[in-house]
């Protein structure tokens, strides 16, 4: 090993460690703060002499987390299966079947991919108010299904475009209907694609903030992220409790990511670039 080679390796490790530090430090700072004495104003990063683990319990009850988690789970259950199912069917249709106006439909969806949520929030508010859904979880679930749809169709279409056409031909020769070909052959093969999509949509719903903030007044009917916003408004000055509460809310997203991280990153790599 030459000196310059060694120097390069040290710099390389140094840069990577610095970037990793940048990524974790805000979370570490939250963690040590969450353990400080309740009501105190600790320094940014300092291990408290006697950690107050009880802060997490206090934050749990202060933010009414049981209700928040229940609400988020209901919203995720309302959004994810429906959206993934529709996106899979639509993606297959646009990729493999000869749909009338398929090109135009796909074009419209692509435009939707760039559409900011904020551009729709005002009319959505008045529409949902006029049909009496404002303040209910459906007011979050229904628009979210629509808003996630372009990405879902885009994602699944990209997957089905890469599918082997010979499989379809073989199935047709064997007398399978279009539905059977889709159900028995392409759907099982697409498992990795739609399960990755489910994880992405879980995160998108779980972390959704704007829709709950605007469309639902009662924090206990929002997503956890929406509830966290309300929590910040209420306990913004009590930094210890706020940090404890935020960490509790982060935890499920973090766990889901760590559990699925292998598939997740792989799917992201395959799906995003097609």
């Amino acid at each position: 090993m030459t000196t310059s080679g060694l120097a390069h390796r040290v710099t390389r490790t140094g840069i990577l460690l610095a970037l990793m530090l940048f990524a974790v430090v805000p979370l570490l700072s939250m963690f040590t703060t969450a353990l400080a004495a309740p009501g105190s104003t600790p320094q940014g990063l300092s291990w408290p002499s006697d950690p107050h683990w009880h802060n997490f319990v206090d934050a749990w009850s202060a933010a009414n987390f049981v209700a928040l988690f229940r609400s988020s789970i209901l919203i995720v259950l309302g959004v994810v299966p429906a959206t993934v199912a529709m996106a899979t069917a639509a993606g297959y249709a646009l990729a493999a079947l000869n749909v009338p106006f398929g090109k135009a439909i796909y074009g419209l969806l692509l435009v939707g991919l760039t559409l900011p949520f904020e551009a729709l929030i005002t009319p959505l508010y008045y529409d949902l108010r006029s049909v009496g859904l404002l303040g209910t979880r459906l007011a979050i679930v229904l628009p979210l299904i629509g808003l996630l749809m372009p990405f879902g169709v885009f994602w699944m279409r990209a997957h089905f475009l890469g599918a082997e056409p010979a499989l379809t031909e073989a199935a047709t020769v064997d007398g399978a209907t279009t539905w059977q070909t889709f159900r028995r052959i392409h759907l099982p093969l697409a498992t990795s694609a739609w399960s990755a999509l489910s994880v992405l949509f879980f995160l998108a719903s779980w972390n959704q903030y704007l829709l709950p903030l605007v469309l639902v007044d009662d924090p206990t009917k929002r997503t956890v992220a929406g509830g966290l916003g309300a929590f910040q408004g209420q306990y913004g000055t009590d930094i210890v409790l706020l940090c404890a509460g935020s960490l509790l809310i982060i935890l499920p997203s973090l766990l889901i990511f760590l559990i699925f991280q292998r598939n997740f990153v792989k799917a992201l790599m395959q799906g995003a670039v097609k």
Partner: protein
């Protein structure tokens, strides 16, 4: 579903944008007034300008740093360190943006870590409440964007590098290319599609940012960190200027489309 909850409201947005409506009483048409206001009212124009400043932080810096990180990770042998680096860098991307906003609001506060570090190295006179500072608030919000986007760009670019034919690297080595010229001759051209995806995703996130700004600064101090997303929210739900909000909303949607379109074309060429 897409039609009812996305396309139809979008058309309504266009319609509202020509009205003067407080959301309760009858709406009156106001012609192009709402549209003119975007270019004449300083606080509206400022929000659009700020959104483009954020592109530097959400897109340029993460893509640049992501390229560096990805090239460095590529040189590592596959193993614990490279996996850890990937996972750790990606974590901020999966957290709710609300949490990112709260974490960084704390980092930037008077007692937060940023000031703590400055004090520790003797730069006491530079400590400040960063998000309340007229000069530094917008860059400070921008750094939150770097934090969120860096992992996404790194992981995606790393995937792209993995697909580049190793023979190209060998050929470059044989031609006597150093690390830098190798990067520009082999890595960068090979990453074209990944770069387009990164740019598209992060530019949309920058121009349409809402969560982080709403939590961290709500557009303040003054209008220093105001972005269109927050402005639309305030106009509709706090000030009841529905028509004005809708004009800004449609304008934002068009701006995003106009910026993204050429980038996508770039990716499809060849």
């Amino acid at each position: 579903m897409y039609g009812v909850f996305v396309l139809f409201p979008m058309l309504q947005s266009v319609q509202y944008s020509f009205y003067d409506w407080d959301g309760i009483g009858p709406a009156t048409t106001s012609g192009l007034d709402n549209w003119k206001a975007i270019f004449t009212q300083p606080e509206l124009l400022q929000s659009v300008v700020n959104a483009f400043v954020l592109v530097v932080f959400y897109t340029v810096l993460p893509v640049g740093l992501g390229l560096v990180a990805a090239s460095l990770i590529r040189e590592l042998k596959p193993g614990a360190f490279s996996t850890t680096a990937r996972v750790v860098l990606f974590v901020p991307q999966v957290l709710p943006l609300v949490a990112a906003g709260i974490a960084w609001t704390w980092m930037y506060s008077s007692d937060g870590l940023v000031n703590q570090v400055l004090r520790a190295v003797g730069l006491d006179q530079h400590t400040r409440a960063w998000l309340g500072d007229f000069t530094f608030a917008l860059p400070a919000v921008g750094v939150i964007g770097v934090w969120v986007m860096l992992g996404f760009c790194t992981v995606l670019l790393l995937a792209g590098i993995g697909k580049i034919d190793p023979a190209l690297y060998e050929a470059a080595r044989l031609d006597g290319a150093g690390r830098v010229s190798e990067f520009f001759a082999v890595t960068l051209p090979g990453l074209r599609r990944e770069l387009v995806v990164c740019a598209t995703f992060t530019i949309i996130a920058a121009l349409a940012s809402f969560d982080v700004v709403q939590i961290a600064t709500q557009g303040g101090p003054g209008y220093q960190t105001m972005v269109p997303g927050v402005q639309i929210y305030r106009l509709t739900f706090l000030q009841q200027h529905v028509g004005q909000a809708s004009a800004l909303a449609v304008f934002l949607a068009v701006v995003v489309l106009v910026v993204i379109w050429p980038i996508q074309r770039l990716g499809r060429e060849k």
